[in-house]
């Protein structure tokens, strides 16, 4: 049923799979690692070996359970990334599990939206009600008017929503992250390298977890703060590496713990990253600090590009009968254009730079074009744009370029403004021209994998084949922002606009599985009129959030201590196994399955296919239990889920076998040549022609052809001044300060604002502001301040600090669970996303809006918003209360 023009998404993902050429398991059938540590416990207490999910790091956890109650959590020394550590988020897990305000049962609204009047219903009634409403909506208006959403906080099984939407045959789902979180990096690295990106928080950069053996000499942390985002895994690894003398450079408007411990801190103006990256590229090229041999042999930079068409020259264009898959270089020896057969031809002396004419047509090498692109970004220019000291920039570049092997980890910061994809391309470019690819010490690696968690570390396959061509083409925003295709997602602002205008059609049923949409969506208040138009809103989460106030049906999701999942860490696989189960909570992975079964029973043809083993094949028909799903994935380990739970952790591979470097040099038995990289040319595509093709056709991701975007995507990184700018345009005059966000070690996205131990550490959001900026704007340490943008006005508590760039202010996301039952529902008082921007211009490739790098103004406020809890004693109401055991219910 699916037309497969060219490389389809599954083939592409297979080609980029982390397992590399010699796929599958290495020797070893999964014997249990000797358990070197188990805590002493008193009688009646059992220890459950599981994994955390307070954030996405999945650190190892030993849970102490007595009389069915979880009484203590501690880290599992067997976990190779956290090695027995746990951070504040994970340690708050018991308070999260037993929070008195947990959603316990499915509930249906009986008052007006926002009145907070609910009636308990059974799961049967909930599923039935939702299914029938979905069927009616499809019949009346079309399946595309049903949409899903998910998020990163609250332990989602990420692809569940995408898979459900495919089964229902709607093309629309989104999450507040996606184009604003991680997609820009997975896309750029996926297309230019065909391997994982350099995110530490997403459990890449695994080279960093071997501090004793890795030769990495310098680490650049660009817009990432592992000490804040993943203290027990990434943060911990950096401590060890710094202790062993590794240099580090931090590019971040904030002085994070990692910045404080780095050799150089570059407090960059938010939103200007590509300018600084192009400066680094220019410097490295000018001073010949790049790895010439690697660039020549393993990137596409020597290839000739038609400067008019922007496309790479192929042998087939040079002479009849030539190959379409062979590219062309300028051979200095013969002073002519010559095809360069893969992987190399020693007879040729390709020119790396230069401009050449072939039959009257101008060609330049990719390297020449990169050089030209970076030309304006001198140290002085970058310093001016980015508000930095040129000497410090130079010091930083030299640390990175002269202490190799080095690595550049790029974090979410640059994903959060419209220069997102360009920043990711800039980082990939730097790593590639430095030769920091797959050699020992490099962050860009394709180490082995168990095969048990193949889809970006999740286990539910999106089953793309379920989505029909007709429906696929209706995905909102997909034509313009084709980068979204890698994640199968719709463009969130386009969904909102469709709701508000009714064009091209009005989405009207919202199935949400995640946290507080009003805390994390950009320009949160713009969603209120959209929410009010929904025929049905279903909200699945562990506890009520502001978003719940507007829902029609609330479904109780499991906390991480109640969930089961397979967790891969280095060369081991762990079982995150449920330690207990409370009330009628359900793992949302199972909820979607039950919903699809219900829809199939009501006659939904596509859902019938989704539960048919013959049709689904190795994409798995929808499961009847979590165990069924987990068993199927555990096959990769030659065991059942029950066995994994007993044996966890298991080594699927020796460390040595896992730690494979130079995957690109491994000989492909089919061709007898090196396997190369996971790209079309098998070289690193620094000149990303694939971006042009993506924009025009949707390849390699679109399962069906799409019309082109309104203009071509750029094959090289470029810099655009932020639309709301402190130095240009009108907005900056009234709103002179630049706003940025960033993580704290105690929160994960919108979670844990209701955790007593966490809230007493940080009861209200801080506005970080430099002393000079504070003085200029009339605020002082400890004041309450108003912060205002074109979109809204909020309050925060002022923290005057030299640890933030001048002219920049910082706030982390915040909402107030204590105000849920009030008129505001707790999302308007101190929520930075009341200020952020979700209007054009968006990033051209994926449609990113602006969560960081927009303009605000501040003034002193009299005090905090009414009713917010600030004192430790306030949070007593959220402490777990012991009770008699509840009945164990199978849902």
């Amino acid at each position: 049923m699916i037309n497969q023009p060219g490389l389809n998404r599954r083939e592409f993902l297979k080609a980029t799979a982390i397992t590399g050429v010699a796929a599958g398991l290495c020797s070893g059938t999964g014997f249990a690692v000797g358990k070197t540590y188990l805590p002493h416990v008193s009688g009646g207490t059992r220890i459950v070996r599981t994994c955390c999910r307070a954030c996405i790091s999945n650190c190892g956890v030993l849970a102490h359970v007595k009389n069915g109650r979880v009484i203590k959590l501690e880290g599992d020394p067997e976990h190779p990334m956290s090695r027995g550590a746990m951070c504040a988020k994970g340690l708050a897990g018991i308070q999260a599990l037993y929070h008195p305000n947990r959603n316990k049962y499915p509930m249906k609204r009986v008052g007006a939206r926002g009145e907070n009047k609910w009636r308990r219903i059974s799961w049967d009634e909930a599923l039935d009600t939702i299914a029938r409403k979905l069927m009616e909506t499809r019949e009346k208006y079309g399946a595309e008017t049903v949409f899903g959403s998910t998020g990163g906080g609250g332990n989602p099984e990420f692809w569940s929503v995408a898979r459900f939407c495919n089964a229902f045959d709607t093309p629309n789902w989104f999450e507040p992250g996606c184009a604003q979180c991680y997609l820009p990096r997975t896309l750029a690295f996926g297309m230019m390298y065909g391997g994982p990106d350099t995110s530490i928080a997403d459990s890449n950069c695994l080279e960093l977890y071997s501090p004793h053996t890795t030769p990495i000499k310098c680490l650049v942390l660009w817009g990432t703060d592992p000490s804040y985002s993943s203290p027990a895994s990434g943060g911990r690894a950096l401590v060890e590496l710094r202790a062993r003398g590794m240099h580090s450079v931090v590019v971040d408007p904030r002085l994070t713990p990692d910045a404080a411990k780095a050799d150089v801190w570059l407090p960059i103006r938010p939103g200007t990253d590509p300018a600084l990256m192009l400066c680094w590229i220019r410097y490295i090229i000018e001073k010949h600090l790049y790895d010439h041999d690697f660039v020549m042999k393993w990137t596409n930079l020597p290839f000739l590009v038609n400067t008019k068409t922007k496309m790479l020259l192929r042998e087939s264009e040079l002479r009849p009968g030539g190959s379409e898959e062979t590219f062309v270089v300028w051979d200095k020896a013969t002073n002519s254009a010559k095809p360069l057969p893969y992987p190399w031809d020693d007879a040729l002396q390709p020119a790396l730079a230069g401009s050449y004419t072939i039959k009257g047509v101008e060609y330049k090498t990719g390297f020449e074009l990169l050089k030209e692109r970076s030309e304006p970004y001198t140290l002085a220019k970058a310093a001016e744009i980015c508000w930095l000291d040129p000497k410090q920039i130079e010091k930083a570049i030299n640390l990175y370029a002269r202490n190799t092997p080095s690595g550049m980890s790029l974090g979410v910061a640059t994903d959060q403004n419209p220069n997102s994809v360009q920043s990711a391309m800039g980082c990939a470019t730097l790593e590639m021209i430095m030769g920091n690819v797959e050699r020992p010490g490099a962050l860009m690696q394709r180490f082995r994998s168990s095969g048990a968690t193949p889809i970006f570390t999740y286990i539910v396959s999106p089953a793309l084949k379920l989505l029909s061509e007709k429906q696929f083409k209706k995905r909102l925003g997909v034509v313009e922002y084709k980068g979204l295709l890698q994640w199968l997602a719709a463009h969130a602002p386009s969904v909102q606009q469709a709701i508000l205008t009714g064009k091209p059609y009005k989405p009207r049923v919202w199935l949400d599985r995640s946290g507080n949409k009003f805390a994390v969506l950009g320009n949160a208040s713009s969603w209120l009129p959209a929410v009010e138009q929904m025929d049905l809103i279903v909200h699945t989460y562990m506890y009520p959030t502001s978003f719940s106030a507007y829902a029609d049906i609330l479904l109780p999701a499991t906390e991480w201590l109640e969930t089961n999942m397979i967790v891969e860490a280095i060369n081991r696989v762990f079982a995150r196994q449920a330690v207990t189960h409370l009330w009628e909570t359900m793992d949302e992975t199972l909820f979607w399955s039950k919903l699809v079964h219900r829809l199939a029973a009501l006659g939904h043809e596509n859902c019938k296919r989704a539960i048919d083993p013959v049709f689904m094949g190795n994409e798995l028909p929808y499961w009847n239990s979590m165990e069924e799903l987990l068993d199927t994935r555990c096959k990769a380990l030659n065991m059942t889920w029950a066995e994994l739970k007993k044996k966890t952790p298991v080594e699927y591979c020796s460390f040595k076998e896992w730690n494979q470097h130079y995957v690109y040099k491994q000989i492909d038995p089919k061709t007898g040549k090196p396997a190369g990289f996971g790209t079309g040319s098998k070289k690193l595509e620094v000149y990303a022609e694939s971006m042009i093709i993506l924009g025009r056709t949707g390849k390699p991701f679109a399962p069906f052809p799409l019309p082109p975007a309104s203009r071509d995507y750029d094959p090289l990184p470029h810099y655009l001044e932020p639309a709301e700018s402190p130095i240009a345009g009108e907005v900056g005059k009234k709103f002179p300060l630049v706003m940025t966000n960033g993580r704290l070690p105690i929160f994960h996205h919108g979670t844990l604002r209701n955790s007593p131990w966490i809230r007493e550490i940080y009861p209200a959001p801080e506005l970080w502001i430099h002393p000079k900026t504070a003085a200029a704007h009339g605020v002082a340490q400890g004041n309450w301040a108003w912060i205002e943008s074109l979109r809204g006005k909020i309050r925060a508590r002022v923290r005057v600090t030299k640890g933030i760039a001048i002219g920049v202010v910082y706030m982390e996301r915040f909402w107030n669970p204590e105000l849920l039952n009030g008129q505001t529902h707790g999302w308007r008082e101190m929520n930075v996303n009341m200020l952020s921007k979700n209007t054009a211009p968006f990033n051209d490739v994926v449609g990113t809006y602006t969560l960081r790098g927009y303009q605000v103004r501040i003034s002193k406020a009299d005090g905090p918003p009414q009713g917010v809890w600030l004192k430790p004693a306030d949070f007593k109401a959220w402490l777990p209360e012991p009770s008699d055991p509840t009945k164990l219910v199978e849902v």
């Binding site: 249906k108 009986v110 007006a112 939206r113 009600t129 029938r132 409403k133 069927m135 009616e136 019949e139 009346k140 208006y141 079309g142 595309e144 008017t145 209706k474 009714g502 064009k503 091209p504 059609y505 009005k506 009207r508 208040s525 009010e532 138009q533 929904m534 025929d535 049905l536 029609d552 049906i553 108003w786 809204g792 006005k793 909020i794 309050r795 008129q823 505001t824 308007r828 008082e829 929520n831 009341m834 918003p865």
Partner: protein, 207 residues
């Protein structure tokens, strides 16, 4: 001075309160209006529940007739008559009547056509088509041939949603043109609108 919260306006009119309350229930709007139309003649409460339960819309409402009636009582669109119990009756209030009339007088339809002149032709075509009940697919197929390149493309549900909201069509297992819309069509026909079947095809009167 409160931030991020809309300023409270002066107290709204009773009719506006009802309008806002019904508008905030997009999934049940049709049922709520029908209840108000039904109770323009006072009826025993139990009878109202039974009648409403039989509405096509209620088959997939997530709420019960009792809940809907409760909302209408709370916002002043319905009023109870007599003591609670077997003899209680329900009647639409004056303000409730206002709301029913404003939704059913065809004004919303006219406003829709004025507001979206680029799509006027298709709106009228759908209204004509659904005089006989049609499925969504049937409407979609009929419109497929029209896809002018000079305006943003829309899908069939754009028309269906807009017309439903304007009271031009209603759903009863299929899309059906309402009496109000039929009346409007007839009116427009007598004005010799060239877009209606049987009208004069005078190109010069095209909007």
């Amino acid at each position: 001075m409160s931030e991020g919260i809309e300023q409270v306006q002066s107290a709204p009119e009773p009719h506006q309160v009802i309008q806002q309350r019904i508008a905030s229930e997009p999934g049940d709007r049709a049922s709520l209006l029908k209840i108000l139309a039904l109770c323009q003649v006072p009826r025993p409460t139990a009878e109202v529940y039974t009648t409403v339960q039989g509405y096509a819309e209620m088959a997939v409402s997530i709420h019960t007739p009792q809940i809907l009636v409760c909302w209408l009582l709370e916002c002043g669109a319905l009023r109870p008559i007599g003591e609670p119990g077997e003899n209680e009756m329900l009647e639409t209030t004056e303000a409730g009547r206002c709301e029913v009339e404003s939704q059913n007088c065809g004004q919303l339809l006219r406003q829709l056509l004025e507001r979206e002149p680029e799509y006027r032709r298709e709106f009228l075509e759908v209204l004509e088509l659904c005089v006989s009940p049609r499925t969504r697919s049937e409407v979609e197929d009929a419109l497929e041939s029209h896809a002018p390149a000079d305006r943003p493309p829309v899908l069939v549900s754009f028309y269906l949603d807009a017309l439903e909201h304007a009271g031009g069509i209603e759903w009863n297992h299929k899309w059906q043109t309402t009496e109000v819309a039929k009346h409007l069509l007839r009116e427009m026909q007598t004005d010799s609108n060239p877009f209606i079947d049987g009208g004069n095809c005078d190109q010069s009167t095209r909007a």
